[in-house]
Amino acid sequence: MGDNDNKLLSVEELKVYFRSEDEVARAVDGVSFDVDREETVCLVGESGCGKTVTALSVMGLVPIPPGEIAGGQILFRDQNLLDLDDNQMQEVRGNQIGMVFQEPLTSLNPVFTIGDQIGEAIQIHQTAPQNEIIQRSQQLLKDVGIADPAQRLRDYPHQLSGGQRQRVMIAMALACDPELIIADEPTTALDVTVQAQILRLLETIQKERSMSVLYITHDLGVVSKVADRICVMYAGIIAEQGKKAAVLKTPKHPYTQALLASLPNREKRGKRLYSIPGTVPNPAYKPDGCPFHPRCRHAIQPCREQYPQMCDYEDGHHARCPVLFNE
């Protein structure tokens, strides 16, 4: 990964483990990727692949213990976030990095109004007179496309629809003009039509404010709409990364190929869907060698013993599968 000034976030060889009495779950096991300025990077993978833990580590929100950062660094504007203490991290979180979660109803406090909660997000990082905070909250709601913002500020979360709540969450994430937004499955709980609106909103806001977005999702369809670059995660590692078109059109890792082949759609009608045999491994008992080898149709003997090398294709496209690389 070449150095350039355009780099905003750089995660290098990050390892996050969770310890319990008799086992260690290696949730994130050596993950490296960059997010450039004004770029959208998608972390995509199935449940338990470590995508959310990666995002939480960037925000400094991994509970320690049982969690443990076992190695690597997270450089945000050339500063290693893992070196910061709680107070310094508080400065970054919400201020320079905003976060949007999956379930807006559980991340909004039901007993405070929308206005209280957006105001709080501003006040944590900045001091401003009350009327200015109200004004800025109204502007934020307007920016995320909520009609009649003055009235909505007095509403409680339950009075809003799912799509509106997610807009409020985005407004809160934007409150301090962050440079990076981390969006963890922001549209998973929403209807397709509302999902389309929220995706478009995020895109517009990103352009207007020249922000970067780290998008975490399991939905390859959503990825194809929003991503500039894609990192496909499996069992705590990045199996493949590269530009969107390269990864979706010419996938070089058997896992990515299998995922795309198993997506149902109209064109595959009447044909049998490819299905990946078996299930995702338990992070505490991952197989030796390549974690995907028990489910892989290209697996050969070395896959069972050696941890696979990252193989480089053109234009920043990497895949951790020497078997397909050598073919």
Binding site: D191, V192, Q197, G221, K225, N265
Partner: protein, 334 residues
């Protein structure tokens, strides 16, 4: 053959189904309004085929499922199962029919008793089906588990010991235990990961072929519906807006709402399609306007859309659309 195209291959015919829920307020629980959850729903499911019922949350899809299962009583309309109107049956008359219509839920964990082993859960169905001898039960149990791709040893284990995909297989085995003819699949794969989703979809297809099952497949995922279903009914605020064979619906969608839904599909294969500009999200079904229920979001709405009830218009012999703007010969396009 009647208006909806019914013939003796039909397993389920739903005609003009309505269900309103009262809203009660105040100390005396006075009825202050009605939620029109299902308002004029008609469709047909043929033997061995799959009908997809799609729509956004709150459009009434699940209420339709509950009406067909007779977990709720319809306010109006007919549900003909093999020609017999089940809305008229009382609890006793319904009992033998109950095992003909089964359901698979979205969240199999919520629908399996955590204190019963998988074997016990499935055996409940077998007892209802009249298989009481232990030996016969065990034999049938083994066969059912094999059918859904699980090892017979799993019958002694508890639901929490299984992954989401395995639990969904157990849910399917339990539905199959009474040898139903029709299975209502209520979002059966939406909670599953992509790789597991493909396994379950393949399983549902295999079972359909082996056992000649008919499915009512309720989903909001148009990619899955496009893959799996023979016919599709698009539902909006209690109305069926468009009803057509899957190919016709996806290739030549007619209703503006179908266009809206299709344009919102995120599809990994066509990364360059633009997201259609949509109006606000669906308002509630509390006080619907007169006329077309989609008028407030429709980009083509005009004055006549606010008047009177809409009837289905035949754009093609088996392609029905609830929209003024469709011409009788189906030449309608945007």
């Amino acid at each position: 053959m009647n208006a909806m195209g019914s013939h003796n291959n039909t397993i389920l015919q739903v005609e003009d189904l309505k269900k309103y829920f009262p809203i009660r307020r105040g100390f005396f629980q006075k009825i202050t309004g009605w939620v029109r959850a299902v308002e004029s729903v008609s469709f047909i499911i043929e033997k061995g085929k799959t009908l997809g019922l799609v729509g956004e949350s709150g459009c009434g899809k699940t209420t339709v499922a509950r009406l067909i299962l007779k977990l709720l009583d319809a306010d109006h309309g007919k549900i003909l199962f093999n020609g017999l109107d089940i809305t008229q049956l009382d609890e006793k008359e319904m009992k033998p029919l109950r095992k003909e219509i089964q359901i698979i839920f979205q969240d199999p964990y919520g629908s399996l008793n955590p204190r019963m082993t998988v074997g016990q859960s499935i055996a409940e169905g077998l007892k209802i089906a009249g298989i009481h001898s232990r030996a016969q039960q065990d034999q049938r149990l083994e066969k059912l588990l094999k059918m859904v791709g699980m090892s017979p040893a799993s019958s002694d284990r508890y639901p929490h010991e299984f992954s989401g995909g395995q639990r969904q297989r157990i849910g399917i085995a339990r539905a199959l235990s009474v040898e139903p003819a029709l299975i209502i699949c209520d979002e059966p794969v939406s909670a599953l990961d992509v790789s597991i989703q493909a396994q379950i979809i393949n399983l549902l297809k295999d079972l359909q072929r082996q056992l000649e099952l008919s499915y009512l497949f309720i989903s909001h995922d148009l990619n899955v519906v496009g893959y799996l279903c023979d016919k599709v009914a698009v539902m909006y605020k209690g109305h069926i807006m468009e009803y057509a064979p899957a190919d016709a619906l996806f290739d030549h969608p007619i209703h503006p709402y179908t266009h809206l839904l299709l344009s919102a599909i995120p599809d990994a294969d066509s990364s360059d399609t633009e997201l259609m500009a949509t109006a606000d999200e669906a308002s509630n079904t509390l006080n619907p306007p007169a006329g077309c229920s989609f008028q407030d979001r429709c980009p083509l709405a005009e004055e006549r859309c606010q008047k009177g009830a809409l009837e289905f218009i035949k754009a093609a012999p088996d392609h029905l659309v609830r929209c003024w703007k469709v011409t009788r010969n189906g030449t309608y396009s945007f």
